[in-house]
Amino acid sequence: MVKVRFIVRDINTKAPIKDALIQLNGFKVTTDEKGVAEIEIPEGTYTIVVTAKGYEPYKIESISITEPITITVDLAPSYVFLIRF
């Protein structure tokens, strides 16, 4: 198992983003108020997807994770509001 640490921030202000959902294939974890999330996963190749309200999602395809790593993701804010229909 490998420990992966994520830091999710606003691309412009570098402010931490709380409640960002990080998907690594079938694994999921959410960030705390510091924009940080940690998860232990088996070594392997992953597609990482980060989503958060108010931001464009972010995807990293086919990243090989074999040792502990910290990944910083800067999300770009959306210029539209999420609306209910």
Binding site: D19, A20, L21, Q23, G26, K28, T30, V49, T51, A52, K53, G54, Y55, E56, P57, K59, S78, Y79, V80, F81, L82, I83, R84, F85
Partner: protein, 348 residues
């Protein structure tokens, strides 16, 4: 690339990831302020914090709804004439096999090659072939009224003929099955409150539709989402399993609810003309929203047509255009005559 093509391609790239967000039930395309928008159906407001507001510049909108198949929980709210024995059998009344509880008879359909007559409804209404489970085998008697409303083998109208199985590990495009009537005359081409079908068309966002079903009768609504991929939870042998349906449309009632348990199989038709657009197969018991698959997928999967006269729809449209042209030309001649008359009068 047009904004529509872009929205569809963005949805295709991201739908798997959106559906993996816990609590997301469906994703598709809707239109908001004339812009194609990615629609995300969530089971509660708690999920909203994980949803992006836009994806690659395409706006995202959400709706709270819990989609389930409308099955196995008939509430006996059906109007008497839809749950009673009726011959010949029109679309919109209750049917089942002897191994299933019941749902709605969609309509009579005709084999595209032989023109042979069959009856159409949902797989889960007539057969229930879900994953490893098959409640009814080919040849099983189909009865009207349905078993849930007291139907027995004495009410037999035909036998199960063809079923499109629903699998767990693929994207299903229909929930449909055919039965062969014992006597072709036992099936009516008429659908209750809709009439005899004149054609079929494809559902679009904003289209006004009506459905004719066993439990809630005839209800009206608006198509809100198309091209949706929906995760439907079905309890099989005491265990909840998730089945995925794609190319699904969602509709909401203009007043009250659009559908309920027992309405599965209901024909969903245009308002204003007897054109079928799809077949209801699932919905949300709280909001009354419905999910239906387009009729074109049934035509493709089962090689049947919902209209006896296999004149292509465009031919009818051409006829209408021709009549409109004649009308316009006629009006033109009349107006020219009138103007000539007025001009002559003025000349005097």
């Amino acid at each position: 690339m047009s904004k529509y093509a872009k929205a569809y391609s963005v949805l295709e790239r991201w739908k798997k990831h959106l559906l993996n967000i816990p609590g997301v039930k469906a994703v598709g395309i809707t239109h908001i302020n004339c812009n194609p928008t990615i629609a995300v159906i969530v089971e509660s407001e708690d999920v909203v914090k994980y949803l992006p507001s836009s994806i690659e510049g395409v706006p995202v909108a959400y709706r709270v709804s819990k989609f389930r198949l409308f099955l196995e929980r008939l509430l006996y709210t059906s109007p008497a004439f839809r749950s009673a024995r009726v011959r010949p059998v029109p679309g919109g009344v209750g049917i089942s096999s002897t191994k299933t509880l019941g749902g709605t008879f969609t309509c009579t359909v005709y084999d595209l090659k032989t023109s042979e007559k069959y009856g159409l409804s949902c797989n889960h209404v007539l057969a229930f072939w879900f994953g490893p489970v098959k409640k009814a085998e080919i040849g099983e008697p189909v009865i009207q009224p349905p078993k849930a409303y007291g139907g027995t083998e004495e009410d037999r109208i035909g036998s199960l003929f063809k079923v499109v199985p629903i699998e767990e590990d693929k994207e299903n495009i229909v929930d449909a099955a055919l039965f062969k009537p014992d006597d072709p005359a036992i099936l009516d081409d008429y659908i209750l409150d809709i009439g005899e079908l004149e054609g079929w068309s494809h559902p679009l966002v904003g289209m006004e539709v009506r459905k004719s079903g066993l439990s809630t009768g005839t209800t009206h609504g608006i198509v809100t989402v198309t091209n949706a991929t929906v995760k439907v939870v079905v309890e099989i042998e005491g265990k909840e399993r998730v089945f995925t349906f794609t190319d699904v449309c969602l509709a909401s009632a203009t007043k009250g609810r659009m559908g309920y348990y027992g309405d599965s199989g209901s024909p969903v038709c245009e308002i204003g003309r007897a054109y079928i657009v799809g077949i209801l197969f699932a919905g949300d018991e709280e909001t009354g929203d419905i999910a239906f698959f387009p009729i074109k997928n049934v035509i493709k999967e089962l090689n049947v047509s919902p209209v006896k006269e296999r004149t292509p729809v465009y031919a009818k449209e051409e006829k209408t255009k021709f009549l409109a042209t004649i009308g316009a030309v006629g009006s033109g001649i009349a107006l020219t005559g009138l103007f000539t008359f007025v001009a002559e009068k003025k000349g005097k």
